[in-house]
C-alpha cells in the first residue's frame, strides 16, 4: 500500500517533469553525449525507486522479491554513482586528481557488485505485510556503507571547494540545498540497511521524493543548468580585416563596450593578427591562457573575425559561436562587403539581438 503510494507520487513527478522538458525543449541545450548519460541516469533512478519499494511488498514470492531487491541495490549504486560523478567531475574540472573520486567510487562499487554475487547474502524476513532483508554478508554491507560514505564525503569536499566555480551563484545555492537532501537521503538509506527499521525506510522514501521534486524545480527554474554549471563567457569581440572593431560585448556587465573606451593596443593587436590572417585561418582552433580559453572564429569571405573569451571552451560554446557567425554574416552581408570609406559601426549593433538569441544561457546571476 505504502509502496504504491510512493511509486504513484514518483510517477506523477516524473511524468510532469518529462512533459515539461519536452514542451520546453528549446530552452534546454545539452550535448548529445551528456543527454545519453542523463537518460541512463534517470532510467536507473526510476528502476531503483520502484524496485526498492516493490521489494518490500509481500504479494510477490520470496525469490522474486529477492531479485527485485538485488536490482534495487545495483541501480541504487549506478544512479547515486552517476549523479555524483557528473557533479564531482564538473566542479573538479581543473583539478589534477579530478578522476580520483570517480575511480574510488567505481572501485568500491566493483567490490560491492562482486560481493553481491555471493549466494545467501541476505535472509528475507517477513514482518506484518512487508519483507525485510537482513545482511548475512557483512563485507557486502560494509562495502555499501563505505560507498555511500565516500559519495557523501567527496561530494561535500568538492561542493565546498568548488562553490566559487559556479558561474551562476543562484544555481550554486540550489545545488547546495540539493546536496543536503541528497546526503540526508543516503544517510537514511544506510541507516535502514543497518537497522532494518521501517521508519528509516519511510523517511528515506519521503526525502527521496522531496529531492526529486526539488531537482524538477531546479530544472524548471534554471534551464541553463546543463550549460553554465561552471562555465562563463566574459567578452565577445568582432573585428574587421581593415582593423576596425565592429562590435564588442561584455557578458558580465551585459553591456556593449563603447569602442572609444578601448585602448589603442587593440588596434595594434588586430593589425598584427590581420597581417597573418590567411595563415591563421585554417589552423588556429583554441587559445589557452592560465584562467581563460579563447575561441577564435574567422570569415575570410566577408573579412571579419570574432574572439570569444570564456572560462572553458566546449562544444556548446563552439556551436553557439558558429551559429552566431552564420547569422551575423547573413544579416550584415551587404554592410560587410561595402565596408569602405567612412565606416558606421552602429550598423552592427544588431549583434546584440543575436547574442541574446545564441548566448542567452550564459547570462548568469551573480
Amino acid at each position: 500500500m505504502i509502496a504504491s503510494l510512493f511509486i504513484s507520487f514518483f510517477v506523477i513527478i516524473f511524468v510532469f517533469s518529462t512533459v515539461y522538458v519536452l514542451l520546453n525543449r528549446r530552452k534546454y541545450e545539452v550535448e548529445v553525449g551528456f543527454l545519453i548519460i542523463l537518460i541512463i541516469y534517470f532510467i536507473n533512478e526510476i528502476t531503483y525507486f520502484i524496485s526498492f519499494n516493490l521489494s518490500a511488498e509481500n504479494f510477490f514470492n520470496v525469490s522474486l522479491t529477492l531479485i527485485i531487491w538485488y536490482i534495487s541495490i545495483i541501480t541504487r549504486h549506478l544512479s547515486v554513482g552517476m549523479f555524483t560523478i557528473i557533479h564531482n567531475f564538473e566542479l573538479n574540472k581543473d583539478s589534477r586528481v579530478r578522476f580520483l573520486p570517480v575511480l574510488i567510487y567505481i572501485f568500491i562499487g566493483g567490490i560491492s557488485l562482486s560481493l553481491l554475487i555471493v549466494p545467501d547474502s541476505f535472509t528475507v524476513i517477513q514482518k506484518d505485510f512487508e519483507y525485510f532483508y537482513l545482511f548475512n554478508n557483512i563485507e557486502l554491507l560494509t562495502s555499501i556503507i563505505l560507498f555511500n560514505f565516500c559519495i557523501v564525503l567527496f561530494s561535500w569536499i568538492i561542493q565546498i571547494k568548488g562553490y566559487h566555480k559556479f558561474a551562476d551563484k543562484k544555481l550554486g545555492k540550489f545545488y547546495s540545498i540539493f546536496m543536503l537532501l541528497f546526503s540526508l537521503n543516503i544517510f537514511l538509506y544506510s541507516l535502514y540497511l543497518i537497522t532494518l527499521d521501517i521508519y528509516f525506510k519511510l523517511l528515506h522514501s519521503i526525502v527521496y521524493l522531496i529531492g526529486i521534486g526539488y531537482a524538477v524545480f531546479i530544472i524548471i527554474k534554471k534551464p541553463n543548468l546543463f550549460v553554465v554549471f561552471t562555465n562563463k563567457i566574459y567578452d565577445l569581440i568582432i573585428f574587421h580585416k581593415s582593423g576596425i572593431l565592429l562590435y564588442s560585448f561584455n557578458f558580465q556587465t551585459r553591456e556593449e563596450v563603447d569602442e572609444s573606451l578601448l585602448k589603442g593596443s587593440i588596434l595594434i593587436g588586430i593589425s598584427h593578427i590581420l597581417a597573418n590572417l590567411s595563415n591563421l585561418e585554417a589552423q588556429v582552433t583554441h587559445i589557452k591562457m592560465k584562467d581563460r580559453a579563447v575561441v577564435f572564429n574567422f570569415n575570410t569571405q566577408l573579412g571579419y573575425a570574432a574572439l570569444l573569451i570564456a572560462k572553458h571552451s566546449n562544444k556548446i560554446l563552439e556551436k553557439s559561436i558558429d551559429n552566431f557567425m552564420n547569422e551575423f554574416s547573413t544579416i550584415n552581408k551587404d554592410s560587410l562587403k561595402n565596408l569602405t570609406g567612412l565606416i558606421d559601426v552602429s550598423t552592427f549593433k544588431n549583434a546584440k539581438g543575436l547574442i541574446n538569441q545564441y548566448f542567452r544561457h550564459f547570462f548568469t546571476e551573480k
Binding site: S112, I237, S265, S271, K288, M289, L307
Partner: protein, 387 residues
C-alpha cells in the same frame, strides 16, 4: 620429491628480486632521465611491483607450504599485485601514445575489475588449494607441481576478462602508434613490448581457463612465470639503457623560435625532416603580440597566452619578461616534458646571452640577430632527444 623445479624457481626468483631492486633504485636515482619525475616514478613502481612484490608472493605461494589459509592468502596477494602491475604498465603504455593524456574509458574498466577482483577474493572459496601430497605439519619447501590453486567461476571469469582487456589495450595502443607514426621503425620497440608482455598474460589466461582440464599438466603456471621473468629481464635492461624511449615516441617538436618583445624573430630552429607542420616561424611572434594586445584590453594583464592550439600542433609559449623575449616551441602536444626542457633551455639561454639580452631590452635599440646565430648548439644540447 623433485627438487630441481623448486630450486630453479628459487634461483630465478632471487635473480629477478635483485634485478627488480637494483633497477628500481637506478630509476629513482636517475628519474630525470625519464622525461619527468612522474614518468620515472611510474617506471620504478612497475619494476618494483612486478620484480619484487609479485615475484615474492608468487614464489611463497607455490614453492612453500605454510598452511592452507596462509598459502591461499599469499596466492590471492600474488593475483592482486599482478592486476595492479598490469594496470600500471597499461598507464605507461598509454603514455607512449600521448603523455599524460590517458583515455579514461579503459582505466575505468580496470578500476571496476580491480574492485570486482577484491570483492571476489573476499568471498570464501574464491580460491581453493589442492595439495597432491599429505598435508605437511610444518613449513615445507615443495615441488610447485604438487600445489595447485583453483579459481571459482566468478574469480576466474574476472581474471580472464581483465587480462583479455589488458592485452587488447596494449596491442591497440601499439597499432595506433604504428599507424600514426611517420617513422615506423621508431614504433618497433612498442610493438615488441606489447607482444612480449602479451605472452605471459596469455599463458596466465590459459592457466585459469584450463585449470580443471588435462592441460594443467603442461605446467602452464610455471611456464607463465618463466616467460614473465624473461620479459621482465628484457624490459628492465631496456628501461636502464634507453630511458628516453619513454618520452620521445609520443612526442614531436617541430620547431623552436625565440622572439624579441617587439615581435622580431631572434632565432628559429626547425627540427630535421619535421615537415608535418609548415607554418612560417615569423608569423607566430606577430600573432602572439596581436592576441596579447587584444586580450590585455579585456583581461587581467598578467594572464597571457600559454598555448595556441591548432589542428596539427600546439604552440607553447614561455615568456621571459625580465629578459624581454618569448620562447615558442611548436610541438604535437604540450606536456610537462616539453615545458621542463623549455625551462632548462631558457635558463641557459639567459645565462649565455645575458649581455646581448640586456642591450636589446630597450625597444628602440637595433637588434642584431646574428649575435644569436650560435644558438644551434644550445638547442641541440637541450633538445637532443628530439633530434
Amino acid at each position: 620429491m623433485n627438487y630441481i623445479t623448486p630450486l630453479s624457481l628459487i634461483i630465478g626468483y632471487f635473480f629477478i628480486f635483485s634485478l627488480g631492486l637494483v633497477v628500481t633504485i637506478h630509476i629513482i636515482r636517475n628519474r630525470k632521465d625519464y622525461g619527468t619525475q612522474f614518468m620515472g616514478l611510474l617506471n620504478a613502481v612497475t619494476v618494483f611491483s612486478l620484480g619484487v612484490i609479485h615475484a615474492t608472493f608468487y614464489i611463497l605461494s607455490v614453492d612453500f607450504f605454510i598452511s592452507e589459509q596462509i598459502n591461499i592468502l599469499l596466492w590471492k596477494f600474488s593475483i592482486l599485485t599482478w592486476f595492479i602491475s598490469l594496470i600500471i604498465t597499461s598507464v605507461l603504455f598509454s603514455f607512449f601514445r600521448e603523455y599524460k593524456k590517458i583515455k579514461s574509458f579503459p582505466f575505468l574498466f580496470y578500476t571496476l575489475f580491480l574492485g570486482l577482483l577484491i570483492g571476489a577474493l573476499l568471498t570464501p572459496d574464491s580460491i581453493t588449494l589442492s595439495l597432491s601430497i599429505s598435508l605437511p605439519s610444518s613449513i615445507t619447501f615443495i615441488d610447485p607441481s604438487l600445489i595447485n590453486y583453483y579459481f571459482n567461476f566468478i574469480t576466474g571469469a574476472i581474471t580472464i576478462l581483465f587480462q583479455i582487456l589488458i592485452i587488447s589495450h596494449y596491442l591497440y595502443i601499439a597499432i595506433i602508434i604504428n599507424i600514426r607514426s611517420k617513422k615506423k621503425e621508431e614504433t618497433l620497440p612498442v610493438i615488441l613490448n606489447a607482444i612480449i608482455f602479451s605472452m605471459p598474460i596469455t599463458l596466465n589466461i590459459f592457466y585459469v581457463l584450463f585449470q580443471y582440464t588435462l592441460f594443467k599438466e603442461l605446467f602452464i603456471r610455471e611456464l607463465f612465470i618463466i616467460i614473465l621473468w624473461i620479459a621482465f629481464f628484457g624490459v628492465s635492461i631496456m628501461i636502464v639503457k634507453k630511458p628516453e624511449m619513454f618520452f620521445v615516441l609520443p612526442n614531436r617538436i617541430y620547431s623552436i623560435n625565440i622572439y624579441h618583445k617587439s615581435g622580431i624573430l631572434i632565432y628559429s630552429y626547425n627540427f630535421e625532416n619535421q615537415t608535418e607542420f609548415k607554418t612560417e616561424s615569423t608569423i607566430w611572434g606577430n600573432i602572439l603580440i596581436g592576441l596579447n594586445h587584444i586580450l590585455s584590453e579585456f583581461l587581467d594583464k598578467k594572464d597571457k597566452i600559454n598555448v595556441i592550439q591548432t589542428k596539427e600542433a600546439d604552440v607553447v609559449v614561455k615568456y621571459e619578461e625580465d629578459s624581454g623575449y618569448a620562447l615558442i616551441v611548436i610541438t604535437n602536444r604540450k606536456n610537462s616534458i616539453v615545458e621542463d626542457l623549455m625551462n632548462n633551455f631558457s635558463t641557459e639561454f639567459k645565462r649565455k646571452y645575458k649581455n646581448e639580452l640586456n642591450e636589446i631590452l630597450d625597444i628602440n635599440r637595433i637588434i642584431n640577430v646574428s649575435e644569436f646565430s650560435d644558438l644551434k648548439d644550445l638547442i641541440e644540447k637541450n633538445f637532443q632527444l628530439y633530434l
